[in-house]
């Protein structure tokens, strides 16, 4: 049955993207599941909103100096990209290697880091860690510019092991020190001056300057080091080569990918997939793309158990609804108000609260955040002037009995076209009853914004407000 394929494809696109409207779903369905997985995992031309167009409307998104404009700039990319997996992957690494504006006062370097995630985020984990260790925003964020051959600063060395690769319990305090020693000399060009500028939040005299990596051989501790039982005159790359060989690293990466792309909770069935992903990690030479391919092709991922097994993050909530509604495909002067909404819901792009990133899953939800979440998507998806909603109305009309829909057709049609979303019998009966209030819906000859269309808008509002819509 084709609808089962549609359900599965919608599931894939909620995970490897930000959900999909029916037109997009049909394009992916035409590729078949395997073809769709490959297309998503091998991003080509994103055809996103071009910079020259953005800059014509947003001066602040030209210099990319300040936080609000830069967060909106990334959101434009998420909204308009034809390669959603590229942005989803960048978002994954942004949450895991969480670097924030607060300490940097430097949005351009942060966006450069995001671009690095796009470029390298699906490749080898070893290469990614090397790039991360050379990333200027990360260097400042975790003080590696203060990590000197003569006096180490452990901050980056510690987090590299604890939060970015193996996880606590898999190394000793001595390993941390040795790791830090290996990364001495990994700093910024003109590091001292740049650090002062960042601390002073100074834009004078040249505006914000994007930093670049600099290796200072004279500041590097070239002595012998013993790290995780291996001894040598290790530099940073050598340390990373040892880290990526560890089983703990494979487990860490596989688990984090699983929780972001498959399910918040790791069940027994999920644990098996994590082990398969770990096997792929080693057999492929630490390739993230291959690990995700293993995941997406697993029986578990395609099963009912994995569907709607994640609470949508604020970014997924906002970008998903905006893409579904087809809004902001051109620059809009109030765009920062839209990206700020994610922050009000608890996830501001480029400003993770700490190096730990965001706490995900059910922790996204509290009463204030839930009100913001429901209100945003309900408003976005009930506006019958939005192109995506207009397209839903046309499809409903075509699917009705000569343009006439019974209340249950209206409720089911909206659930289908916004997802398909699976809801409990109780939720469905409330939706159908709500639709029944005004009897059958006749969409024949509907005109933009007329009462018939408003009824669809009201139905979409309620579907977007369901508990089930909170899940991905």
């Amino acid at each position: 049955m084709i609808s089962n394929d549609t359900d599965l494809m919608a599931h894939l696109l909620r995970r490897a993207g930000f959900g999909a409207n029916r037109n997009e779903l049909e394009e992916y369905l035409a590729m078949g599941y395997d073809g769709a997985v490959e297309t998503l995992l091998n991003p080509s031309d994103p055809r996103n909103m071009p910079d020259d167009l953005i800059r014509r409307y947003h001066v602040d998104q030209s210099e990319l100096r300040d936080l609000p404009g830069s967060a909106a700039y990334w959101m434009y990319r998420m909204i308009s990209t034809a390669c959603p997996m590229e942005e989803k992957t960048a978002l994954f690494w942004h949450g895991l290697f969480a670097t924030g504006y607060a300490k940097l006062n430097q949005a351009r370097s942060l966006l450069n880091q995001v671009e690095m995630f796009r470029r390298s985020g699906l490749g080898s984990f070893e290469d990614l860690l090397v790039e991360l260790s050379k990333d200027p925003a990360m260097i400042v964020w975790l003080d590696n510019n203060e990590n000197h051959g003569s006096a180490i600063n452990e901050n980056y060395g510690r987090e590299l092991l604890e939060l970015f690769s193996m996880g606590i319990g898999n190394y000793t305090e001595d390993d941390i020190k040795e790791c830090a020693r290996a990364f001495t000399g990994w700093t910024l060009g003109n590091a001292e001056y740049m650090a002062i500028r960042a601390a002073k939040d100074s834009i004078w005299p040249y505006g914000r300057i994007a930093w670049h990596f600099d290796y200072r051989d004279e500041d590097h501790d070239d002595g012998e080091k013993t790290f995780l039982g291996e001894t040598g005159r290790f530099n940073g790359e050598d340390i990373i080569a040892i880290i990526v060989k560890q089983e703990a690293t494979a487990r860490f990466v596989a688990s984090r990918l699983f929780q972001f792309f498959a399910a918040d909770e790791i069940t027994e069935a999920g644990e098996k997939i994590i082990e398969e992903m770990m096997a792929t990690y080693f057999s492929s030479g630490y390739q993230i793309r291959d690990m995700l391919r293993t995941l997406f092709h697993s029986e578990y991922f395609q099963s009912e158990e994995a569907r709607f097994a994640r609470v949508k993050s604020p970014v997924e909530m906002v970008v998903g609804a905006v893409r579904m509604a087809g809004n902001y495909q051109n620059p809009y002067l109030g765009i920062e108000g839209v990206s700020n909404t994610m922050f009000y819901m608890g996830q501001g792009l480029l400003r993770p609260p700490t190096v730990e990133g965001w706490h995900e899953g059910a922790e996204w939800i509290d009463s204030g955040a839930l009100v913001e979440r429901v209100n945003f998507v309900a408003k976005e998806l009930s506006d019958v002037s939005s192109p995506g909603v207009r397209s839903i109305i046309d499809r409903l009309e075509a699917g009705g009995d000569q343009g006439v829909l019974q209340p249950s057709d209206l409720a089911d049609g909206c659930l289908d076209l916004l997802g398909p979303i699976q809801v409990s019998d109780e939720t469905r009966s409330v939706l159908v009853e709500y639709a029944s209030r005004l009897g059958d819906l006749d969409l024949n000859g509907h005109q933009p914004g007329d009462q018939a269309e408003q009824r669809v808008g009201a139905m979409l509002r309620l579907v977007a407000a369901t508990r089930e819509y909170q899940l991905a």
Partner: protein, 378 residues
């Protein structure tokens, strides 16, 4: 629902953007002040003198009136060591009471947890504005964030009253139904009902309040009015938070902007104090006013850049009015990179508020022991 003895509440007004200390409490006797600020000084004859050496910004007339009644504590030279001049980082430091490491919990979030350890009241802490300031964020602590008290709740954009009522009813049934086995669905249902309940209770607040005080139409005054409505509705709100700004970031055109902001703030605070007096609750609420940092001593031609030491205010009927702490010296040798050097750790003010006003143990909230001023009348 109302208790006979009202518990003490804290009202916080955050000045976002970095309030200029030097032009708020002006050292008008010091030549160095005028030398450093050719473009943005407050002339001696415009300053409102308070103690012969320092005076308020001319737009702070109503605050001066409260000062004369002994209700205004001025806390000088407030900040922390190794000042950070990033808005975000410095505000984080104030919010989490953690100047060195990156803090995880807000100091007021912790206070709310201690005030209501069983989470019996969803309205113990309320923010007026959108999004939750980190000061109020703490895992497991539910804090309502009210953008607009009149339309607070779900589906505020639905104009048709009947449609909105039907939609809310449907929402309530969808979130009230048994969720079956799934704990996440259960949790979502509970949270949805909490949100509805909070909104329902808050919606009653304006009707339970009457006052002859007329608040100005600016955003801060309206938020302060909402605070007064909720405070006086007896809903058990103990921490009420709002912010003013972010235009305090006066890199340019400072004089006009700063005067406007302080005019609004002074008016709003003065209205609130009148309102409290009218309701006989003057001794039940205290107002903290703070900003993430002060501004550079030397002006930049039309404004001032990010600095360090600042000023905080504690205002209320139960406050011992007066000057607290020393005004930092403007002398070059005393400066820290062109800024006023702080001589009062902000956590000592927090400690005073937590111990002497909210009657909590401050040490675990501010992560340490800090000497405090005697700001509150006992």
């Amino acid at each position: 629902m109302t208790t006979t003895k009202r518990e003490k509440s804290l009202i916080v007004i955050q000045l976002t953007g970095g309030n200029d200390y030097l032009n708020t409490v002006v050292p008008y006797e010091e030549g160095k002040y005028y030398d450093s600020r050719p473009a943005i000084n407050i002339p001696q004859d415009k300053v409102i003198p308070v103690d012969g050496r320092y005076g308020f910004n001319p737009s702070m007339g109503p605050i001066k009136a409260l000062w004369d009644e002994g209700k205004v504590a001025v806390i000088n030279g407030i900040g922390y060591e190794n000042p950070n001049r990033s808005h975000f980082r410095s505000m984080d430091i104030w919010h989490t009471a953690e100047p060195d490491a990156i803090g995880k919990e807000g100091w007021l979030g912790r206070a709310i947890r201690d005030l209501d350890p069983q989470s019996e009241n969803v309205l113990t802490g309320i923010n007026f504005g959108r999004g939750l300031p980190r000061a109020l964020a703490c895992p497991g602590v539910s804090v309502a964030s009210v953008g607009d008290l009149d339309t607070y709740g779900l589906f505020p954009d639905v104009q048709d009253e009947e449609l909105r009522r039907f939609t809310l009813e449907a929402f309530s049934r969808m979130y009230g139904g048994a969720a079956g086995r799934d704990p996440v669905m259960e949790f979502l249902g509970q949270t949805g009902q909490d949100a509805l309940q909070g909104a329902d209770i808050l919606r009653t607040a304006p009707a339970m309040y009457s006052s002859t005080v007329e608040y100005a139409p600016d955003a801060l005054s309206q938020n302060i009015k909402s605070i007064s409505q909720v405070f006086h509705a007896g809903l058990g709100a103990r921490v009420l938070y709002t912010q003013h700004g972010p235009q305090f970031d006066t890199h340019s055109g400072q004089l006009a902007t700063h005067a406007k902001l302080w005019g609004e703030l002074s008016g709003a605070v003065s209205c609130l104090m009148d309102d409290l007096k009218e309701h006989g609750t003057e001794d039940d609420a205290s107002i903290l006013v703070f900003s993430e940092f002060g501004r550079r001593i030397q002006d930049n031609g039309s404004g001032s850049d990010h600095g360090s030491a600042g000023v905080a205010f504690m205002i209320g009927g139960a406050v011992n009015g007066g000057m607290y702490g020393e005004y930092p010296s403007l002398a070059e040798a005393e400066q820290v990179e062109g800024d006023l050097r702080s001589n009062n750790d902000f956590r000592s003010v927090y400690t005073g508020i937590l111990e002497d006003w909210l009657e909590l143990d401050a040490v675990p909230i501010v992560n340490g022991q800090f000497e405090k001023f005697d700001i509150f009348t006992s």
